[in-house]
Structures are given as structure tokens and as C-alpha cells.
Amino acid sequence: MSRTYAYFPGCSLEKMARSYHESAMETTRALDVELEEIEDWNCCGATTYFNIDELLAYTLCARNLAMAEQLKKDVVAPCSGCFKNLYSARKHLTHEPDLRDHINEALAEDNLSFTGTSQVRHLLDVLVRDVGLEEIKKRVKQPLTGLKVAPYYGCQIMRPRKDHEDVENPRFFEDLMSAIGAEPTNFLLRLRCCSGALLITNREAALSMVRNLLDSAVRSGASIIATACPLCQVNLECYQAQVNSEFGTDFKVPVLYFTQLVGLALGIPRARLGIGSELVNVMPVLAGAGGGAGK
């Protein structure tokens, strides 16, 4: 039986992280997970709305949550920023009746109402906990043997803390990489921030943070970094050239989404996973993995 979720792609997945969207759709389909896109979803607010107005930030999230409730499904977000915003909005609106009433008055303008019936989940968590690692292992057709992957958690999939989970030493990303036959490396800075929107607002600080992450990933012996967030992907991959020119380094570490790596192991062809749209060429690394995964 297939599981279905209300899918909130988020703005980045429309273009900048198109390959995340494509690989998320392909990989979930292969795992009997159905993602039904929320019709007419709006921007979650990124980290930016909260800089201006907290009430507006929650209202914009609430509109998406209310539309997911109409589908009677839990929400799945592939972007860690969207996940954190939707998750926090649901939490605060559920706990604060005054806030919920106030926002519902605004939502009425779009004939919507928030009640809190849909949970908010990250796509990585859905694969690990709902589909399950054993099930994924069973379905692997081309294990990524020999591929040394640095699993990069970043921030908002883990922080702020949702419940009582271990935010200092999670293992689920490593476990997922092992399940598809890859070898997760001991990536020390795996939970350190990618600098987020600082790449725009404080370039100097951001590039130095990205350099530290790339350095740590390379030192762990990884030949590739796996991410679960479009902003992490863009910062670590697309800004590598700028890091190199700023610090005289020579990084060329490809950065793929976990959905692309899982998809390869499931035997999905590269082109259908959006592979080929990277700025740092991933082909040499993939050629050496599991007999040329997903050719």
C-alpha cells in the first residue's frame, strides 16, 4: 500500500534546486510514497520574514498548512528551511488559541482555516522512519559500493529541537547512506551551519564558513557531500569557485541531494534524477561507485 503526503516543494525547488524536486518525485515513486503537491502553495518565508514581522511569517505558513489539511494529509517538505518554518508555525498556532484565531481571520480571506490536523515532516525523515531503512535496503538494485559520502545535516532539519531527540549526535543520515551501500565518512562539521542567507548579507563570513565545511568534508575522506536542503546545496556547491578564489584553495567536491543518491541506488537513470545540472562535475565520482551507478 502506498503512503501519501501533502507535498510542499518550496520556492527553491522550482528552479535553483530543480534536481531536488525531480529526484524527490522519482525516488519516492520507486518507494511507493505518493507526494501530492499542495495546489497554489506560497513561500514559507525562508529565514527572512521573521526579520520583519513574526505574525505575518506565521500567517504565510498557516495558509500552506490549511491547504494541506484540506487534503487530509501530513505535510512533507524537502527543504530544511521550509520544514522548520512550517513545523514551528504549526506548533505555535496549536499552542496559542489567540494567535490561531487572529490568523484564521486573515485566512478566511482565502476561504481557509487552520486547525492543526496535519503534521509537518522532512522528506529525509519520511524515508528513514516511514519507509524504513530495511525496506530501502531490500529495494536497492545498484548499491553505491565504494562511494565515500559526507552526510551533511546542516541546521534546520535538526534545530531548533523538535522534541527530546538527540540534536548533538544524530545517526540517521549516516544510516541511510549505509543502507544504499555507500560509506558514510566521519564528517566532523556535519551539523555546522552552511551560512544560510549570510552568503548575501555577509559574504566574507559566509565564504569562510563554507570553506571550513568543505575542508572538514575533504579531511573525512569523502569524495562527495550529500545534503537535504537546497540552500546548503547551493552554498556548498555553487560557491566553491568563489571560496577557491578567495582562499587559494582547490576544492572540487560534488554535492548531491540524498534523494539523488538513493535514486541511483534504486536503479533510476541519472537524467531522471536531475544529475548533470551541477556546477561541480559529479560524473568522475559516480563512475567509480557501484560500477558506474545510474548510467
Partner: protein, 189 residues
Amino acid sequence: MTEPRLSFIGEIENLLHASGSNPLNTCIQCGTCSGTCPVAAGGFMSHTPRRIISMIRANRKEDTLAANTYWYCASCFQCTVRCPRGIDIAEMMYALKRYSIWKREYGKDLIGPTFSETFIQTIMKSGRSYEPVLATTYLFSFGFQDMLQEAATATGLMLKGRMPILPPRIKRLDNFKRMIRKIVPVEEQ
């Protein structure tokens, strides 16, 4: 001079209306936040997070607002999950950003405030984010070399089909705008 009815610490503590107030007065100045902050670690902040909490408690409003610390917070929440007193330091940084925008008091060389406002205006107009409009808010503050590098990155993304050409917009935009006006009763710019 009469004392203001609400102290600076009271204002900042209570700028979190969704999550209730933030217990800044329970801070023991242990410095875990500063030690854990990846931006402070690189020496990019004028004042560490620990020092900012101390300044707020000492009612040093002008010094606090003049610091770049809160606009340089990347919202990674590492300090928040590690604070032994349960202070949500990253949310406190958000509160300071909102306060400084409200008061129009922040360093004039900062990109964060203008970028944030343009971002919100873009969403208010179309419901979704659109990178090329956002780029105009910061590119011109870059030096020539930085701007060239940024242009090279953007070109790379464009060649790989990763840059949007047309601005996206949601379908029920009229309803969406009326919804926003219920929360922020102003016309769009």
C-alpha cells in the same frame, strides 16, 4: 528624566509573542552561545552573543542596536539548543532584527535590512520568491571583484537551467493580498 515604563530587556524579551517571553534575565554568562556560534568563531561579529545579552540586561539600548551581531546571525539555532538556561538566543536575534527595523536603527553598511524588506515585498506581490529581484538589493553594495565573482556564479547557474527567467506567482493572488492586509494593514509599495 523619567524612566520608561518598559525596560529594554522587557521589550526584547516580549518581542516573541508566539512563543511567550524569553528569559534573558536567567542568563549566567557562561558563554556557551558565543563558543558555539560559527559566525562569532570567525571573528565577524562586533560583539559576541553572550556580550549582547549582557548589554541588553544593562539597558544599553544604543550600543546593542549599533552592534552588527544580530544581523550577522545565520539562524542556525546551535546556541539555542545548547543554552543551559533555556534561552532561545537565535529567536532573540530575530527579535533584535525586528526591533531595529521598527526603530530604523541599524548600521548603514548592513545588507540584511534592505534584503529582508525587498524579500517581503516580492512575496507580497507574487506569493513566491524570485532570485533576480533579490540580487539587485545587494549586488551594488559589492566591490567590483566580488560582483564579478557573483556574476560568474549566476551565469553558471543560468547555463545549467537553474535560474528563473520569469517571476513565479500564485493563482489566488487577490485573496492572498487581502489576507496579508488583515495582518499588516498597509498597501503594497
